[in-house]
């Protein structure tokens, strides 16, 4: 694939705009460059278009101005809820994306079992989603994307509906998966501590029409441990992001 405009970037937005047919400008000239192996979080006021950003990157919606460079061949994607097929148990749910891509049944099963074990759902292969907790459903959704061995993994506020304790555990598990698999991450969230804890870079968006108004490099070493959440440096960085976000809301 020719990436003439940005050879090192795994994903790049070049002055991307998005206007809905009714004239609403959702995004206005978004410039964002994510290097291979980076994990970037996007925070912004609600309704600022951060979810739109992800839909454009994944191809669920099309933009109306500028250029997007992205490799969608093995795209990982999690929605705001787990989006499991309720009539399938965990194992065939994890197999679904491979099934749609025509992976042979035996290989599919082997890969799915590996991913299920990796996310800690071993023993729950034959459970229907109805009988799983919210956190377990999200783990199954992660396993489903991991089965494609994604190069780029996009997350649309995936843990927003979970309770605090489950969410912190899942974030630690997600970091472990990121370090193990080495995908490039683009994570949408409204939680500043979550963004700072999880990312190598945090991007702040303005109110609608969404633009990127601040970026913060997060220097903490990997893997990150729960103690980091009480580190003064962590608090200082989260505070800076928070100030930028408040400015984005008030301006």
């Amino acid at each position: 694939m020719s990436t003439a405009s940005s050879p090192a970037a795994a994903l790049s937005f070049d002055k991307v705009s998005m206007q809905y047919p009714d004239g609403t400008l959702a995004l206005d000239g978004v410039d964002l460059r994510i290097a291979a192996g980076e994990f970037v979080s996007v925070v912004g006021p609600s309704g600022c278009g951060k979810s739109t950003l992800l839909k454009l990157a994944s191809g669920l919606e099309t933009h109306t101005g500028g250029e997007i460079w992205v490799d969608r061949s093995n795209l990982g994607y999690t929605f705001q809820d787990a989006t499991l097929l309720p009539w399938r148990t965990v194992l065939p749910n994890v197999e679904l994306l491979m099934e749609l891509r025509g992976v042979p049944a035996a290989e599919r099963r082997r890969i799915a079992m590996d991913q299920i074990e990796l996310v800690g759902l071993k023993g729950f292969e034959n459970h229907y989603p109805k009988r799983l907790s919210g956190g377990m459903r999200m783990r199954a959704a992660l396993a489903r994307s991991l089965a494609l061995n994604p190069g780029v993994f996009m997350f649309d506020e995936p843990f927003g509906a979970l309770d605090e304790i489950t969410r912190e555990r899942l974030i630690d598990e997600l970091i472990a998966l990121y370090l193990r698999k080495g995908f490039t991450g683009l994570f949408i969230t409204h939680s500043i501590p979550e963004a700072v804890y999880l990312s190598s870079r945090v991007v702040v968006m303005s109110r609608r029409p969404g633009r990127i108004i601040a970026e913060f490099d997060i220097p903490f070493a990997w893997p990150r441990t729960p103690e980091l959440r009480y580190d003064p440096e962590f608090t200082r960085l989260a505070g800076e992001v928070s100030v930028a976000l408040r400015r984005a809301i008030e301006e």
């Binding site: 994944s58 191809g59 669920l60 795209l75 994607y77 929605f79 705001q80 809820d81 989006t83 097929l85 309720p86 009539w87 679904l96 994306l97 099934e99 749609l100 891509r101 229907y128 989603p129 109805k130």
Partner: protein, 285 residues
């Protein structure tokens, strides 16, 4: 500025846990209301019959007569059995026409929105036609054979399939749709792996109602077709003509029993199929 009212704590004593009723009491509580209601209805029947002048009492046969003239006689039972089979054959054949056709129309309406706009008003219009009223027309056009009866059953049952299926397909979770779109899945893959399974419980509810309707349709169709080897509907008319009201009641009971059996079988099968994942199919306590 008003101040908060003064607080007066009251004492609340604990309430001991109630013992759940034993299995016998639970069974009685479950069965007693419908049994009592049934006995009251039978009492009402007996009272109405007792109040009829004697020369009209044949309209409402007594239990003894029903047993002596119909249900104890092997030849009547054999006739009930054979005619039930004919009725079932008509109903099932009619469903074999209306189910695939109805589902195909539902899928086409789902695929092409313009088809929904075009077809749906006529489905509603079809539903509003009194089918009983056009049976004589069907009879004049197609004669007295097996196929016109099948057509009547198909007309009786057709409506539920395209409408319930379309409703079920349209209520597919948007996130699941996006999940498939991200993989560039074909429309057929979406239909087969997401749309139809998701719509299955709604469609099944349509099945449950329509199959009962199919029995009613089959019995009704025969009221107008007295030639050939008929089913329970023909037996109803024949028994009336011969003043064998006990046999007429027996045929009536048999056709109700068929409808109820079909309904129960589908309810049971629906629970078996969908209870593991679908909320509405879960057994109520």
């Amino acid at each position: 500025m008003s101040r908060a009212p003064r607080i007066n704590p009251e004492r609340f004593a604990p309430v001991p846990v109630e013992q759940p009723p034993g299995p016998l009491r639970a069974f009685v509580a479950l069965m007693l209301p419908p049994v009592l209601m049934g006995l009251m209805l039978l009492g009402l029947y007996a009272w109405t019959r007792w109040n009829l002048p004697p020369h009209r009492q044949f309209l409402m046969p007594s239990a003894g007569d029903l047993w002596a003239q119909a249900l104890s006689r092997p030849e009547v039972l054999a006739e009930l059995w054979n005619r039930s089979l004919v009725t079932i054959t008509i109903a099932v054949t009619g469903l074999c026409v209306s189910i695939p056709l109805g589902m195909a129309i539902g899928i086409v309406m789902f695929r092409f929105h313009v088809m929904e706009r075009a077809v749906f008003p006529y489905l509603v219009a079809l539903q509003s036609i009194p089918i009983l009223a056009i049976i004589p027309l069907i009879q004049s056009a197609l004669g007295f054979g097996f196929m016109p009866k099948v057509l009547i059953v198909a007309l009786f049952t057709f409506f539920a399939f395209p409408t319930t299926l379309l409703l079920g397909l349209k209520s597919l979770d948007r996130g699941i749709l996006n999940l498939f779109r991200l993989q560039g899945a074909s429309w057929w893959a979406m239909l087969w792996k997401a749309g139809l399974p998701s719509a299955a419980p709604a469609l099944f509810a349509g099945f449950r109602i329509s199959t009962g309707m199919a029995i009613i349709g089959a019995v009704t169709s025969e009221l107008f077709f007295l030639a050939g080897k008929g089913g329970l509907g023909q037996m109803l008319i024949n028994a009336k003509t011969d003043f064998k009201y006990e046999q007429m009641y027996a045929a009536l009971i048999a056709s109700s029993a068929l409808s109820i059996t079909v309904y129960l079988v589908f309810t049971w099968a629906g629970n078996r199929l969908f209870a593991s994942w679908h909320e509405s199919a879960a057994r109520r306590g």
